[in-house]
């Protein structure tokens, strides 16, 4: 029994009623490092080691966050950014998934499209920004296009990879047991490719935020990136730091949601058993 387990056991013996209310100490462990950083940062700011004009303190940023929340400004920007992210994810991820599936099951489809896609993949999608602004202006179309393009490739590649790596013995079993091609796809190919598709989704989510922030920083009149750029122009440092922290929180939230979804969908896998 490890020290932590001993401590938990001792505590639960003393006050069993608290057990359900308090989170287990080991569940809090991942947050220990961020909490320590925040505390050190606050102390450094309060004691004047770090000037407020270089890096505002956590308490200042929190106050700004509360004030902007109450005025509604924060949620307007947050909502706009989240909606753009989601739209890009659905469009880019959807196309990536469909092409991944069709290239995974059809030799002809792959021959026709894969080498083209590999060429496009090697262009950093952010390099297209000047062209995209000329095509779409600085409206929503430009951001949607960039986010969708960024999300497309990880989902396409991982869907294709997942389908390619299905155990051919299972397909043969399905055939021998009289499954139609549709049934083989639904009952063998898709569930078999799912772990890989989730990997693609998690990669895609990272690229989704990155692309959106860059796009919003360059040209927008709303959204988190716009909020940060406007604050920079007026030298409002706490808002700049706040938007950076919000990116971190949003990224973590999206990742946690995907992991929860993954645990649910892949509960058959030994890799997730008992977690």
């Amino acid at each position: 029994m490890s020290l932590t387990e001993t401590l938990i056991a001792a505590r639960s013996r003393r006050s069993p009623g608290l057990r359900g209310l308090l989170p287990r100490p080991d569940a809090l462990l991942p947050y220990a490092v961020p909490a320590a950083i925040l505390i050190l940062w606050e102390i450094a700011g309060a004691s004047g080691v770090i000037s407020d004009t270089v890096m505002p303190r956590p308490s200042t940023i929190l106050a700004t966050a509360v004030q902007m929340t109450l005025s509604g400004e924060l949620f307007t920007h947050l909502g706009v950014s989240a909606l753009r992210a989601l739209a890009g994810l659905v469009v880019g991820g959807g196309i990536g998934f469909i092409l991944g599936v069709s290239n995974g099951v059809s030799r002809l489809s792959e021959t026709l499209t894969d080498s083209t896609l590999q060429m496009v993949r090697n262009i950093p999608h952010l390099a297209l920004i000047p062209l995209v602004i000329l095509w779409f202006g600085i409206g929503e179309g430009a951001k949607l296009f960039l986010v969708a393009l960024g999300v497309f490739f990880p989902i396409y590649l991982n869907t294709l990879h997942g389908i390619r790596n299905i155990d051919p013995q299972l397909i043969e079993m399905g055939r021998a047991y009289g499954m139609t091609p549709t049934q083989q796809f639904r009952r063998i190919v898709l569930p078999g490719a799912l772990p890989s598709i989730f990997v693609g989704l998690r990669y895609g989510l990272g690229i989704m935020w990155l692309t959106l922030i860059v796009a919003e920083t360059l040209s927008a009149s709303s959204g988190l990136g716009y909020m940060a750029m406007k604050a920079r122009e007026f030298m409002v440092l706490d808002v700049v730091v706040l938007s950076i922290l919000l990116y971190a929180a949003l990224g973590k939230l999206a990742d946690s949601l995907t992991r929860a979804l993954e645990r649910r969908a892949l509960k058959w896998s030994p890799a997730y058993a008992g977690r």
């Binding site: 299972l170 043969e172 079993m173 047991y177 509960k267 896998s269």
Partner: protein
């Protein structure tokens, strides 16, 4: 000390007296070549309804190729395989195959995996019965990853038998199991065969297994059948008895003479 009886008692029922649901298999003049290399050459073989036939031979002798032709997973280069007077590829769910690996769907629980064997939609009653017959009734809701090797093969057997096939084709299904689990599985297969009366064709490299299970053993080699042995069982036969040992020796001689 009481001797452990390894073979079920009711195997003394001769094949022709069993519930006659077994399919007849007829293999006529079958040749199968791979890139000019003849694996099977003008092979003829008849399997009687309800018979348990084992195919043995050195590795590479074409026994798995022959089994895949019977199972309709492969086509002969010439000649034909007929099951109950229809081409093997049209056998549908009259024909079931058990592979060397369990080939269960990892993302479906045991009951859903067994239901794969039912073509006309889910039938919980049939699945429950099939699972009970392989002593897996308590594992219906379990993921295959949590089963032992023997339990996985039993689930695969339940999947093969849930549609009450008239021909069961077994491609070394016990090859990867440990010795004790093998014996239990052999008894289970023999027992199911005796009860349900399907025709069974087993490919194995274990001559003792072939002798313990079959009504007839054929030795395959040089593209054809080298040797036939009929095993007539009168009275409960003990594994390791002198008669069976003699038959085993005869088959091994035929394999090594090739």
């Amino acid at each position: 000390m009481q001797a452990v009886e390894l073979l079920p008692r009711d195997i003394t029922v001769p094949p022709m007296l069993r519930d006659n649901r077994g399919a007849a298999v007829s293999i006529r003049n079958v040749t199968r070549s791979f890139e000019g290399n003849r694996v099977l050459s003008n092979l003829d073989l008849d399997v009687r309804p309800g018979e348990f036939l084992s195919i043995v031979g050195k590795s590479g002798c074409g026994k798995s190729t022959l089994l895949r032709l019977i199972a309709g997973l492969d086509q002969p280069s010439s000649g034909e395989v007929r099951i109950d007077d229809r081409p093997a590829t049209q056998a549908g769910d009259k024909l079931r195959i058990m592979f060397q690996e369990p080939r269960l769907l990892p993302w479906a629980n045991v009951a859903d995996n067994v239901a794969v064997g039912l073509r006309q939609g889910p039938d919980p009653q049939a699945v429950t019965e099939a699972l009970a017959s392989v002593q897996l009734a308590d594992k219906a809701g379990v993921w295959p990853a949590l089963l032992s090797g023997g339990q996985r093969q039993r689930a695969a057997l339940a999947r093969a038998l849930v549609s009450h096939p008239s021909l069961l084709v077994l491609d070394e299904p016990l090859g990867a199991l440990d010795a004790l689990t093998r014996l239990t599985m052999q008894n289970l297969i023999r027992d199911m065969h005796a009860k349900a009366g399907f025709t069974a064709i087993l490919v194995t490299h274990d001559v003792a297994e072939a002798v313990a299970l079959s009504d007839r053993v054929i030795v395959l080699g040089q593209g054809g059948i080298l040797h036939h042995v009929e095993i007539l069982r009168v009275g409960p036969t003990q594994r390791g008895s002198a008669e069976l040992a003699a038959i085993e020796a005869e088959i091994l001689d035929a394999i090594f003479a090739a």
